[in-house]
Amino acid sequence: MPLKRLKSFRVFLYFLIIGLFLFLIISLFTLFLRQESKTFANFLSNFFLIFSSFNIFIFIIAIVGIFISIGVVHSLEKISRFSQQIREGNFKASLEVKRADEIGRLAENLVQMRDQLVKILNSLEREKEKALSIIKNISDGIVVLNSQGIIKIANSVAQEILSETEKNIIGRKYYEVLKLFDKEKEKYICESNDTDCFIKKAIKNCEKINIPKNIYIIDKYERKKEISGRISTFEEKNGLSSFILAFRDVTAEKEIERMKSEFISITSHQLRTPLSSVRWYAEMLLAGDAGKLNKNQTIFLTDVHESTITAIDLINNLLDLSRLEGGEIKYNLEPIQLETIIENLISDLSAYAKATNVEIEKTFKQIITPKVKVDSKKVYQVFSNIIVNAVNYSQIPGKRKVVLSLKKLGKEIVFSCADSGIGIPKEEQKNIFKKFFRATNTAGVGAPGSGIGLYIAKIFVEQMKGKIWFESEDKGKGTTFYVSFPSLA
């Protein structure tokens, strides 16, 4: 209210001036009367004369006051108008108050504040534009939906995948634009009434959801494009949620993946089939199914058999390797006692042990350790690899024994496989788990191997939160391999 009070003060001054002015007229009038009467009038005129000179002084002050108040009110009114304009968002409003006092400084500060605000707003605008330009130029298709499922933004990649122009996308409901087809279930998904739709769920529960597998987007020209990606949510400044659907056209990648997988599958089948008959015929001959063999025949055939097994292992390992590097290996973790795997292995490997004349012995009789959470097929493969290695490198007369043990040490279940074979040379021990590595002293033994088995074993074990290591002495004292997994009890 100060401005109003200032204004009433001004009105008061106006009245004062008018009053004083009247008083001055009366004083002048009495001066005139002095010429006519000498006695009482004289006294009165003297009194008024003294009083009116004082009046003139007040009069001057009042006039100056009015001028000052006019200046202040005018400036304050300008400032008030300016702030009103800023409030309404007109940042181009101007304010000119040429005063050296507090009011002048106030105006100056206001103008500076306005300039600062404009700067901040501009930088915010630039940030927003930057974010938008990132969205527009990102290599993924981006569609931004509001909480009603209406499309607000669709970047150029999204337009390209949909083969649609921006104006045919923006402002429409997602199910009018995105035609999605589930290849596995052979049906369209995310139609207007599909309550199971991942987009609908994401909007309803405000959550992040990956686009399910095997989903095709059907473009304007009915072309199918396989997509992957996800929908995520963010909160707008008005408190409502928006949703970003980011997706990629993976048709070409999936096609290559399918071709690779088909190639591997067919090649493995084609290579394995002839190897199966070689292996089995050799085994039949060695078992005497075609009559008793002489010593040389047995030796030669054993070599044929071993070479075949090596070739089979190589194929298996190469397939594993290719799947491993393609990230295709799945781990089906289940609680299991390692004893059962070892029992199966001993039974499956008994024929091989017999053929190579190596004894496989276990130090436990029944189930003694708590369960571990592993993929039993992978563990079978890892243990099999270790045991077969141990058998192969134990071909030293008089020392043909492999000892398997299973113990609970602290919080770990530790499997060990000890042979008394040729050992691993000290300087080569660090390379044992490297791809395609074979120790130099294996050459003389004639033991088969491709140098992939332990490389894969280490990856498998570590993927199941286990550890694999060994201790070895090369002067014929043998090698012990250890594998441990966290105990569940």
Partner: protein, 125 residues
Amino acid sequence: MSPKILIIEDDQRINKVYTAKLSIEGIEVSTALDGEEGLRRIYDEKPDLILLDLMLPKKSGFEILKEIKKDEKIKDIPVLILSNLAQEKEIEEGLALGAQDYLVKTNYSIQQVMERIKKALKGRN
């Protein structure tokens, strides 16, 4: 009476090995070289056990397995898949379709294969 096994396998050499080994074991064997013939023989011969390959001409092993499990008359005949398709999803699919066992041929010795066959036959009796 000796047990009867039907082998559905398109590789002649593999068939010869099976036949030779199974005969030694005293098991009667008949072979079919493609899927359609295999299915026909299942109905004709009512074998005690079927050894089934997966990649077969005319009708795949998976298709044969589906048809076996659909028909009341033959669905109880145990099926051992002996294939060289060794990807996890094939193994899973084979077992899910009702095969009793899935052996990757190269990974088993002929003795191990025989043990599995005998086990399956024992289960049948």
